[in-house]
């Protein structure tokens, strides 16, 4: 088996007395599409912050491409090819959409090449996302769902090896969710990226990923094939504690 591109080793985050993430291990290889699910407050986003350097773990290590980046600033993660989106889109509001995409190309992605050189142009990325018509519009003026897409474009601009997606589907219609998921798979297939995708709406994720990890109260309680995970008693238990079986949620 190939070397993991992204590896979390016993990652923990404590805020004062509260343990948000508790000794989580996760390996992601190139070309893998991994989903992370979990009830509210399971520590998904906090875990993502540690994977992108936004937050340093209080214990454990994060390795990207074999290099230990624990405690390094976010730009070091970006330089190693980790790109992410945020739960609430964080675009550069005053800049035209195309400059938002160009931003990553100029910084994090400067020294790398995409598997497809078509993705080396900000214009192509916008076109791929169906945002070509708003290239010159300041990003703050786009609808929230288009800002979400643009964020994926910003991450792609960084010529990533690892793509971290935080709740892409939130606030989108079924058709839009479907389109986004197709798009994410296409990106993964064409560029051979490792993709980690957090989603609160479980059903959406289960349909599109080949592997899913479940976080509950900061701990990883399951990791594997979506169908097997959905039947895992610990997982069912965790979700019953909240609102019911994973498959029935968001249905």
């Amino acid at each position: 088996m190939s070397e993991p591109l992204l590896a979390a080793r016993g990652v923990s985050v404590r805020f004062g007395g509260l343990v948000a993430v508790d000794g989580v291990d996760l390996d992601v290889r190139a070309g893998e599409l991994v989903g992370i699910i979990g009830p509210n407050g399971a520590g998904k986003t906090t875990f993502f912050h540690t994977l992108s350097g936004v937050l340093a773990p209080t214990a454990g290590r994060v390795l990207v491409g074999g290099d230990d980046l624990t405690g390094k600033p976010p730009h070091a993660y970006a330089a190693h090819g980790v790109a992410r989106t945020f739960q609430t889109p964080r675009v550069f509001k005053e800049m035209p959409a195309i400059d938002n995409v160009r931003f990553g190309l100029e910084f994090a992605g400067r020294t790398r090449q995409h598997a497809h050189d078509a993705f080396d142009e900000a214009e192509t990325i916008l076109e791929f996302l169906g945002l070509a018509d708003v290239a010159a519009v300041p990003a703050g003026g786009l609808t929230p769902s288009r800002q979400r897409l643009l964020e994926i474009g910003m991450a792609l601009g960084a010529r990533p090896r690892v793509l971290l997606l935080d709740e892409v589907a939130a606030g989108l219609t079924h058709a839009e969710v479907d389109a986004s998921a197709q798009l994410i798979r296409r990106v993964r297939d064409e560029l051979g990226l490792a993709v980690v995708w957090i989603e609160h709406a479980v059903r959406v994720l289960m349909n599109y990923v080949e592997r899913v990890a479940v976080l509950h109260q900061g701990r990883k309680i399951a990791d594997g094939d979506p169908r097997a995970v959905a039947k895992d008693p610990a997982v069912v238990e965790a979700y019953l504690g909240e609102e019911g079986e994973p498959e029935r949620r968001a249905a």
Binding site: V54, P73, H75, A78, A83, F92, F103, F107
Partner: protein, 305 residues
């Protein structure tokens, strides 16, 4: 307008301004000098503070450090070299304090940069009194006033050229990203700390060099004169009234302020400042984008006809 056009326009403008000493009386040349100096200060301030939305009140500190480099080196260093050294000392100081305080934002940053300036001023006052036994210094050999004008013009043009280059290159993009959402910029690969320190030091270089160049205009230098917070406030005002996101805005506003200041201040010192204060409030309330937003509005209207 891309960098090359802007730099060519700058060169043409600079050459035209360089001819002023042959055309103007001494009084008018002094006026031009004041406008050029404030343009240089305001442009260098906007270079960092415009895109990043930081509010630095350290300009007076950089300027004052520059003048003291000239004063300390008087007799030992040739004029041109003191100007360069003044800029470098200010840039070094900026890099040092920048490394310590650039993680602070908003009012904190404004207060601490102001405090740093005052600290340097009082520190120098104390040093001079305790170790040199003097309050101020006399600069005996000053270059011709036309030489001073050319030097200040040269430094100010350097500031504008640097601002154009920063704006059109990666550093400018990084600074705009930092101003918009610093953490987001970092996750896209911007080394925010390094970019901010570099831009802050670059902007300080020009303020320090201008201070060093202007030092010889005063024959007598003491900390209270050259670290005058008014210089810093005035710079911030000019830049923000002109529109700190642009380069032409601060230049235009420096000319307006320079002329107003020199004409009115001597004759009606108090009334002038009352009017200045009143105008400032009106401008901020009713033209918050600065003078530059007037041009934009006008261009927008023409484009839509």
């Amino acid at each position: 307008m891309n960098s090359r056009h802007a730099l060519l326009a700058l060169l043409a403008g600079g050459l035209a301004l360089a001819a002023l000493p042959w055309l103007l009386s001494d009084f008018l040349l002094a006026l031009a000098l004041s406008c050029v100096m404030y343009a240089g200060l305001a442009v260098s301030w906007s270079m960092f503070c415009g895109p990043t939305n930081y509010l630095s009140l350290a300009t007076a500190a950089f300027f004052g450090l520059g003048t003291y480099v000239t004063a300390w080196g008087a007799g030992a260093l040739p004029y041109g070299l003191s100007v360069l050294a003044g800029g470098l000392v200010a840039a070094g100081f900026a890099a040092l304090i920048g490394a310590a305080v650039l993680h602070l934002r908003g009012a904190y940053f404004a207060v601490i940069t102001f405090g740093m300036g005052e600290l340097v001023r009082h520190g120098i006052t104390y040093y001079e009194k305790a170790f040199e036994g003097t309050v101020g210094r006399i600069i005996a050999e000053a270059p011709e006033s036309t030489t001073v004008y050319w030097m200040v013009l040269l430094v100010s043009m350097g500031a504008v050229a640097a601002a154009v280059l920063v704006r059109d290159h990666r550093l400018g993009l990084a600074l705009r990203g930092i101003g918009s959402d610093e953490e987001r910029a970092q996750t896209l690969g911007v080394n925010a700390r390094r970019s901010k320190i570099a831009a802050f030091a670059l902007s300080a270089f020009f303020a320090g060099a201008l201070g060093a160049a202007m030092a010889v205009r005063w024959t007598y230098i003491d900390p209270l004169t050259v670290f005058n917070p008014f210089i810093g406030f005035q710079t911030v005002l000019i830049a923000m009234v002109g529109g700190a996101q642009t380069i032409l805005g601060p230049i235009a506003s420096a000319v307006v302020f320079g002329l107003l200041t020199e004409f009115l201040r001597l004759q009606f010192p108090y009334l002038f400042l009352v009017i200045l204060g009143f105008l400032l409030i009106l401008l901020v309330l009713y033209l918050p984008g600065g003078i530059a937003s007037l041009f934009e509005r006008w261009r927008w209207r023409r484009g839509n006809v």
